[in-house]
């Protein structure tokens, strides 16, 4: 620690140069923090998955429907402690297709399945009781300025009512929220009471989109899933059951390898930083060769001089890197408010901080090592005489 003033003096020997270098490293880490947040958000489905939840969908395609009669049979599978079902409504709100997801659910069963959703008991009760009831995620409520108690006019692109009309109306009776930001994205949804929906729709009565199954022992997830699928084998409505996490990972894969794309972009960013900062560092050490020689004359060992140069590189990167990540973490809540519920909430995770620290260390080594070794090899006589 006693060497900090020395390091500081070395670093800010040429102020403009160091400040500019700091700024470019800062920008790189700011970008890193933001982009990792986007990747995390895309993968958050898998993180917020509950190991005791399975998803049962139609075997051949997620868009096929399953009979509601499967419910009783799934309930009888040993190890199953609860079953809920949901169907995609295909919402169109204020002329925007799929403005937000709407699921037709059995209120009690569905909310039991997701204990991480926070809902006031009175609102939960109202949802179960109200025939055309609906509850909505708080971020949606904020985005559209809805009030609990109002009518929600939402069209469906898929389900006509008995009279052929695609216009539906629901009573907003409550809101759902979540504490964990990774889960909050899952509450960006409107849940409608299936009782009214199934009764009023013209087509597909008695069928549902998918089942959510709660099991008692997550280590038996695979066996129970296989057991469920076996019950419907060779029936007209075969099923495919998988743990929620597997389903989320598979779905993220449909989008493609976003992670790989982001990694490539960040590799380009950090390669650029490596070249820019590496050059500055080398130049700075070159200019200070006589000073380093004096340090050695004063009795600094070769090892100590090497360490000093390395530490300087580390200080530069750690300073700018930490600042960049902090600003990213600080800016994200504002960004989340600005984009509303159109995108899952973005935040800097512990994993990103660890990765960032790793990158700082690796870059410091790559940037600091060549000039540090040069400083180590320095012979006092040559350096002082100006033979470089």
């Amino acid at each position: 620690m006693g060497y900090l003033p020395l390091l500081w003096a070395g670093l800010f020997r040429k102020k403009t140069r160091t400040v500019l270098t700091l700024l470019s490293v800062f920008v790189a880490f700011l970008l890193f923090g933001l982009m990792q947040a986007v990747t995390t958000a895309f993968e958050s489905g898998a993180d917020s998955a509950d190991a005791k939840r399975l998803l049962t969908i139609a075997r051949y395609s997620i868009i096929e429907l399953l009979p509601l009669a499967h419910l009783r049979q799934i309930e009888q599978v040993p190890g199953v402690v609860g079953v809920a079902h949901a169907e995609w409504f295909g919402a169109k709100y204020q002329n925007e297709s799929n403005a937000f997801p709407v699921f037709a659910v059995d209120p009690g069963r569905y909310l039991d399945m997701y204990p991480e959703f926070l809902i006031a008991p009175a609102e939960r009760e109202a949802f179960a009781r109200t025939h055309a009831g609906a509850v909505a995620g708080v971020r949606l409520v904020q985005r559209y300025g809805w009030k609990v108690g109002q009518k929600l006019p939402i069209s469906s692109e898929i389900h006509p009512r008995a009279d052929g009309s695609l216009a539906w109306e629901f009573d907003l009776v409550g809101t759902i929220d979540a504490e964990d930001p990774a889960v909050r994205a899952n509450t960006d949804v409107v849940l409608i009471n299936v009782a009214h929906f199934d009764e009023a729709r013209r087509l597909g009565k008695g069928r549902t989109g998918w089942y959510v199954v709660r099991i008692d022992d997550s280590s038996r997830a695979r066996a129970i899933a296989a057991d469920i699928d076996r019950r419907f084998q060779n029936s007209p409505d075969e099923t495919k059951t998988q743990p929620e996490k597997e389903f989320a990972v598979g779905f993220a894969k449909q989008i493609g390898d976003l992670g790989a794309l982001v990694t490539r972009i960040l590799a380009a960013v950090f390669f650029t930083i490596l070249i820019m900062t590496g050059n500055t560092m080398a130049q700075s050490v070159r200019e200070r060769i006589p000073e380093l020689a004096i340090l050695k004359t004063l009795g600094f060992s070769d090892g100590k001089v090497t360490a000093l140069v390395l530490a300087e590189a580390l200080l530069l990167l750690a300073l700018a890197g930490a600042l960049g990540m902090l600003v990213a973490a600080g800016a994200l809540p504002a960004l989340n408010r600005a984009i509303g519920s159109r995108f899952p909430p973005l935040y800097v995770t512990a994993g990103t901080w660890i990765a960032g620290t790793g990158i700082v260390l690796a870059l410091a080594l790559a940037i600091g090592l060549p000039p540090a070794l040069r400083a180590r090899r320095l012979r006092i006589v040559d350096a002082l005489a100006g033979h470089r």
Partner: protein, 397 residues
């Protein structure tokens, strides 16, 4: 005139000494190349996606969907209505009098990408024989067309490339049934190349559907007036609740969400990188003038003006930017152009395969960014160089 002469003199002197400052100069080049490379690559992805959808369809063709639906998947057209729609007077006919309309249904099948196991939503389209005349850009590139009434499919060129097990001759199992891939088709690189096609009736029975989802028809009168008349005739008819969209409009709508998303990503990342690269360029130009302090002061002392000094520093920055911009553009072109990818289009909930397209427009845009960074990074150092008091600078040497 004299100013021009001076500018040329100093600029040449600067550029001749560039090799001595290779390290710092390289920093500017690499920094700018990074920005331009990333910008052009990401935008090439968005451009490729947009191109694939935008090149689908022609203005004289319409797609008919249930009123209120924006995509085929959410649309439904009952059998009787579909048959009536296909024979409306506004629909073009072939020489034998058959209407140029194909009544179709689209289902999703799960297929893994090559080398993976996770399922992807690949669109499976049941078509009628007229489809090949309605979409005359479709060509069989390998194998043969499917036979009506059989469980045979033809596969779009891009789907065959992205997803596993779609080679001609292979068998695929969907729903208690085996299908044989009998051919591959090309369709001008458009979105249909991401699809699997089979006979509509066979598809309907195999997937246990009762109705269709869309009708694609060629209009007898492809002009705006013809389209309006056709729409009016459907609107007036109480038997239908149908919207008719010209194909280009329908497919452009489907590209909207994803291409906006990719563009936002591209510009945000490149914007941040550009800021970082500007700091790098500033650094480099400051150290360039610092190392030439004495030369510059000497020139000023023997009568060179401030303007030529400013201009010469700017020119140096711009030259480096041009080299960086060219390198970045070239890298993006070599690395990305034609690279193929498939992703889930949120508008249709199905996979679309497309190729990255590095267009001249994108390269020009990348170059403009490079010049911008070069100018921004050059101006402050240039002004400092010109303002340096001659005596101070000479003494410093």
């Amino acid at each position: 005139m004299q100013a021009l002469h001076q500018i040329a003199g100093i600029t040449l002197l600067n550029l001749r000494t560039l090799p001595q400052r290779l390290g710092t100069s390289l920093v500017v080049v690499v920094g700018i190349a990074g920005v331009v490379g990333v910008l052009v690559s990401v935008l090439a992805m968005s451009e490729g996606f947009r191109y694939t959808l935008a090149s689908t369809g022609r203005p004289d063709r319409v797609i008919l969907l249930r009123a209120g639906s924006d995509a085929e998947l959410s649309s439904g057209v009952p059998r009787d209505a579909a048959t009536l729609l296909a024979t409306l007077p506004g629909v073009a006919r072939d020489p034998s009098g058959r209407p140029l309309a194909s009544v179709e249904l689209v289902v999703m099948v799960d297929l893994p990408r090559r080398g993976e196991t996770e399922p992807n939503n690949v669109p499976f389209r049941g078509i009628q024989p007229a489809a090949f005349d309605v979409r005359d850009e479709v060509r069989i590139v390998e194998g043969r067309p499917f036979q009506r009434g059989l469980r045979e499919v033809i596969v779009g060129r891009k789907a065959a490339r992205e997803f596993a097990g779609l080679a001609v001759g292979s068998r695929i199992g969907f729903r208690d049934s085996d299908w044989t891939v009998v051919g591959h088709f090309a369709s001008n690189g458009d979105v249909h190349e991401s699809e699997i096609w089979s006979d509509a009736e066979v598809t309907m029975s195999a997937f246990r559907r009762e109705g269709y989802q869309s009708v694609t028809a060629r209009l007898a009168d492809g002009s705006r007036a013809g389209l309006r008349a056709f729409r009016d005739s459907i609107g007036r008819d109480p038997r239908f609740s149908i919207t008719a969209l010209p194909e280009p409009e329908y497919y452009a709508k489907q590209a909207a969400v994803l291409s906006t998303l990719i563009n936002v990503l591209g510009y945000t990342v490149a914007g941040f990188m550009a800021i970082g690269a500007t700091f790098g360029a500033l650094n480099c130009m400051y150290s360039a003038i610092a190392s030439r302090q004495v030369e510059i002061a000497t020139l000023r002392a023997i009568g060179f003006g401030a303007l030529p000094v400013v201009v010469s520093v700017m020119i140096e920055a711009v030259v480096l930017a041009i080299v960086g911009g060219a390198a970045g553009g070239a890298l993006a072109y070599l690395y990305c152009d034609g690279f193929s990818l498939s992703t889930l289009n949120f508008n249709t909930f199905s996979q679309v395969a497309f190729d990255f397209r590095v267009t001249p427009g994108l390269l020009t845009q990348g170059f403009a960014w490079a010049l911008g960074i070069g100018l921004a990074g050059g101006i402050l150092p240039a002004v400092r160089a010109a303002r340096l008091p001659v005596t101070v600078a000479l003494r410093a040497g």
